[in-house]
Symmetry: C2
Subunit: 276 residues, 2 copies
Amino acid sequence: MLKVPDHQVAGHQACDGMVGPLVDDSGHFYKPLQNDERGSAEVAFYTSFSSNNKIPNHIRRFFPLFHGTQLIEASDGSGLHPHLVLQDVVSSYHNPSIMDIKIGSRTWYPEASDEYIQKCFKKDRESTSLALGFRISGLQVHGSKESGFWKPDKKLIKNFTAKDVRLVLRKFVSSNTSADSGVDPDCFFASTVYGGSAGILAQLLELKAWFEDQTIFHLYSCSVLMIYDKDSVSKGRSSGAEVKLVDFAHVVEGKGIIDHNFLGGLCSLIKFISEI
Amino acid sequence: MLKVPDHQVAGHQACDGMVGPLVDDSGHFYKPLQNDERGSAEVAFYTSFSSNNKIPNHIRRFFPLFHGTQLIEASDGSGLHPHLVLQDVVSSYHNPSIMDIKIGSRTWYPEASDEYIQKCFKKDRESTSLALGFRISGLQVHGSKESGFWKPDKKLIKNFTAKDVRLVLRKFVSSNTSADSGVDPDCFFASTVYGGSAGILAQLLELKAWFEDQTIFHLYSCSVLMIYDKDSVSKGRSSGAEVKLVDFAHVVEGKGIIDHNFLGGLCSLIKFISEI
């Protein structure tokens, strides 16, 4: 049984007759291949990544598992369409709090067309990408059984300033999260979710060490997902905090050069989080 | 007695009636203030940097000492002109080998004018800045008493590719440096100049650690100078390897954000050097 995912916070979504990803009960995430070169680029990335024996095992865990491609009925009912079959990275969570952060002050690669560069350049300048080296693309934070999720509107997120980003990163780990901007977030869960040896900061630092060295891939317009389970941490259990990288439609070869654009943005995000 | 510096490898030079920097015998470097906002921006940077008590002492040594400004006769004989009075960072070397590397895949700051951004953007794309996160702006490598310095032409340097950069970073620490491109550089001095606890790599790593944390300044279009004394290291003495940061006409406030553009480029340079 395929269905529309409950916890998607960014990207193309299956609704109003639009094609979007689907999930099943066994923990698979079906992402429709985009028809242009982006679809084939993402398949090429996952294929190359899966078979590349230079990727250390402790780094693999930051990427969704790849199970090939499959022809399935598209979410809009338009017929069979090729999909990437990936690990559904949130399937093991009941009420995951999720943030999708696009990394890099530049979301375009040098070899792209002028038209594409101009389009990205404008978005990078209008968002926090250029100034901060990253931008928030989407988020949901679980409040309580009663209040459900706080999931700000896409238009609101698009206009986030540096100050908003700082606030939202605090709200993400607070017990008093609400849409009400007057409430000062208490950052009650910061030390367990961001901190600690298994926390998000430790995971981001592991990724950083790899990006200081790896010259295989340059990941443009790729996102870091931060996921955790507020219920679980409220009850004194593990936060289940995880970092995953997603969206590889704009990956290019590294050609022996580190991905200084991704690395710079990642270091900036690390600094923001470490200050909370 | 003021004179034109012997060992300037990049930037405006005092020759053919152009205004350029001057040096004296006591180790001072007089840099003429540019008439536009660049001049005042550089004075503002040095003034702010000198008096900022948040700069750790082990980081201060990477910056030229600042002795204020002074009205002196311009190098072109056009009369009195205000100059920055700085430490002449090469005055203690006899035959310094020097490389000037402009750091950052982006040499413009977000608040600059569109015209200025377009100009820089073009240069960044045409040089290695965009791809590597840095570009070589100038260099001289001492060969021997007989052959003197190898100092490639500015036009040649401007067209350096990633492959050229890799080769030149090897030539910089080789005993068989020559203009002849057929000679494979032996990297004879790599372990003493780049390596070791006082080597260039160790100094760049110290700078990197600071840039992962500091949110005071964003240094656009700023250069790392790498300097050492080949005679000295040939004779088994200290290489005198030093890293200095120069050119602060395009520094802007960090506003609580790390300089991810400089940091990314610096990490890329570190990776290039560590591979030698």
